[in-house]
Symmetry: C3
Subunit: 361 residues, 3 copies
């Protein structure tokens, strides 16, 4: 049995396998219409995300299964002080697979440690949101037929955007990907994301501040939202905001086969006039997300059928006296949770919190 | 592909077709038990309405389909500033048909403009709520076998009741319908509703203030709630309220074959003692609503199958500089929404907001 | 047609029948996978209880049926002042069976009086919660193979715990059950519960204060939560709380075949370290709850099929001028509800509120 916390839990080969399954589902939906007959998905959403929840639920219905929904944190046993681990262990008795969203980093791992059915992380705070990345990947693949050799621009708030970090990690595994990171100074892509990408040996990274000057060279433009409150000053926001809004004028500068993605919801960072441009594929991207969730659930249920044993996660590190100090980690939120650490593969002798992957002090 | 904003989007012939289908469903439920197999209804409720939502969901289940639910506005992407158009365009990727409730007038049209699947308006503010009217119509038809020649009383708050306005519009298309509007002075049926009814050339309208004096001549009595806050003064409310409460004593004055309808929920405008009167059909009315929703969904899905092209709604009016000034319209609520106008069919040269149908200034 | 308010609505023989069905379901799930095809369960939760709701919903899906959910009181017509009776009468038109949770005592009976489909009480305030007890009973039966002759400890807040009261009532019907009630002085089992148990003539009751001194003789240990606010003073709580926490050290004193149950959610009254003890069966207990709910729904739907007539509940008592004075009763909450009384079977000539079973003054 296997669960998914992060996009990197899936190998390059597994991503391709999911894409191939998704493409087959798009081509032959009837073939899959009873693939999960009698199976139940539980969507455990400890914070609201209608779009992601509905995508998972539509995916399970298109596979012929059932859905159990918990969409409102206030109505859950959490309000009575129950741990994520207990909730998930109970829900394991009701459902065959769980998609979980939680506001705390590392909550997905806390769930997986106790679950007796596969768990898919549908977002754990600012930590990971792997199925968004699978949607992005299928969209790029359907539009371009490949990942190798693409020039991928990412624009907006690159500092706080979990989505773009995850997509960089996923794409850096392919050959000759050129990243163009387009953002204001204060919202640049974090150093460690760039270093990870470069460490793969396949990628080139460029950091720029102008969308207008760089849009012309992109195969893919991944837009994200810039929030006013992320800026150092309101004046700075007012001065810069329009230069990161994608409109028809800027689209005129883009290549004829450029494709525009956005994780949605958008507010005003893409003008409505762009929606009808055939290069805008952000609505199609949500449809692709549904198919990748179908492929992923099918794969995990199949693996669980072959090997129903509980997923053995990381072995606890020897260093018993370590504590996670990340205030946004589930460890800081739940009394009595067992602090677990794993050795940092990139930094032997150093340890990471097994939940949120923050280095131990 | 077609969507439904208002009851008048359905012709008299189509209403009869829906009634005939509903009657067949009541008679032969098994025939329809797989009619929507593999189809998904999304109930997008931007404001709560458990009754209406459950009715749609039960209807889809009785047709063998699936349901995706968004029942809480606070958990939606709306709280992140997303437009109705974007939400619906995304949900079009998850569902085959959408039933939408929204607190703003014109929101249904905003949804329909962007949706790639049929949308049924399940209430857009004080504007329209067509499936309630289909429930009313099936109830009258099942009880009376006809619409022509009926004397239909409507009692209570006729000024603010979207339900009664819509029912008047629907019934005025039949022959020799006599309306008796029973209300206090300050809550009379709006002038334009009466004029519309009279304009049909088939209807007669009478405005009265006493339920007791008029109940004896009614074939149908449609009760609605009177809210204290609608009155000019609390004294006026106290003085009048009991005369608009239907109780056993007043029922004794009604004809033996009179039928009492109410859109529900009722508070105290109908005494509980009336529930057991065989002439009270308001609970049966909710069951009828389910069957009409089944018939309507089946019809729209069938039309969408035959003609999957996006619904081409009104062509934008020439007058590009018009703005809708209705503060309750979705146009006043969403930034960047395109203001669209159509020429008023009853008033050539004048324009109506395509969303909320308020005349342009 | 029959509905279930309390565990004692089911005879000893019927409990055994449900257990036998549940065991068969566990053994042969495929046999039941379409048993409720085309049937709809409505989960009407006027207060949140994700665990119980999901258990009912999973149960209906495993029987091949559909589910209509109302999980948030704020989104219901209740907020518009509708009575439970009206809500349930409407929902009877949408669903084939109803599971209802409500914060007011007696609300289940208020629902059953108006429903035209079977209603299962999923908790009405502090009054009854029969399906929790069916989960407890199946767990004991699966672990022990019998109810007769068991020594059953109940530990924690026995005064306020609806769950333990109900389990005592259910077990007292078997032979030679020995109850050991383990609680602090201020949270002792109510006198009337003990008297009921003794009145059966089969049971022995012992009241003690130490878990540690008594755990060694138990076949079953039923743990419940102790809330700080239930104590007379914070000092008393601090002094006593640890003695009612079950940990590995106390488990070392328990018999090798003792079994630990808990209605969940637990906060810290059972240490996480106990979870891996093979004698801890509280997570398995939630799975058993699902099977008993399946068995119960199947039974009630089958009875309704054979006898669809509305359930004739208690005949109203002659004493027309009685009023229920329980402030937590649904009678105190709903305007215009009919106060109904039944003669107390244990106290002829005295009357009980038919809703909450509080004696009339």
């Amino acid at each position: 049995m296997r669960s998914i916390v992060d996009i990197t839990d899936l190998s390059k080969e597994e991503i391709q396998e999911l894409i191939d399954t998704a493409l087959d589902m798009i081509e032959h939906p009837a073939k899959y219409a009873r693939a999960c007959e009698g199976k139940k998905l539980a969507t455990l959403f400890f914070e609201p995300s209608t779009r992601t929840r509905m995508s998972f639920e539509a995916a399970m219905y298109e596979l012929g299964g059932h859905v159990l929904t918990m969409s409102d944190p206030a109505t859950s046993s959490v309000s009575k002080g129950e741990t994520v681990g207990d909730t998930v262990r109970v829900v394991s008795n009701y459902a065959d697979i769980i998609a979980m969203r939680h506001p705390k980093e590392g909550a997905a791992y806390a769930a997986i440690r106790k679950s007796t059915v596969p768990v898919i992380n549908a977002g754990d705070g600012g930590h990971c949101h792997p199925t968004q990345t699978t949607a992005d990947l299928l969209t790029i693949y359907r539009e371009k037929g490949r990942f190798d050799g693409l020039t991928v621009g990412m624009c907006g708030d690159l500092k706080n955007g979990r989505t773009v970090h995850s997509l960089v990690n996923a794409l850096a595994r392919y050959d000759n990907v050129k990243f163009v990171f387009i953002s204001p100074e204060e919202l640049r892509m974090p150093r460690y994301v760039i270093e990870n990408a470069l460490a793969s040996g396949n990628a080139v990274c460029e950091e720029v501040s102008s969308l207008e000057d760089n849009i012309g060279k992109l195969d893919i433009l991944y837009m994200t939202r810039i929030q006013r409150e992320r800026f150092d000053s309101p004046e700075e926001y007012e001065r810069l905001k329009d230069s990161y809004v994608l409109d028809a004028r800027k689209m005129a500068l883009a290549k004829p086969d450029c494709r525009v993605l956005h994780p949605l919801p958008r507010v005003n960072e893409i003008s409505v006039e762009v929606d009808d441009d055939p290069r805008a594929v952000y609505f199609e991207q949500t449809r692709n997300g549904k198919y990748m969730r179908m492929a992923l659930m099918l794969k995990l249920l199949e693996e669980a059928r072959k090997d129903p044993a509980k997923w053995e996660t990381h072995s606890p590190a020897a260093a018993k006296d370590l504590k996670c100090r990340n205030p946004r980690c589930i460890c800081a939120f739940e009394n009595g949770i067992e602090h677990v650490f794993t050795e940092d593969p990139k930094n032997p002798g150093h340890f990471l919190c097994a939940y949120c992957e923050t280095p131990a002090e």
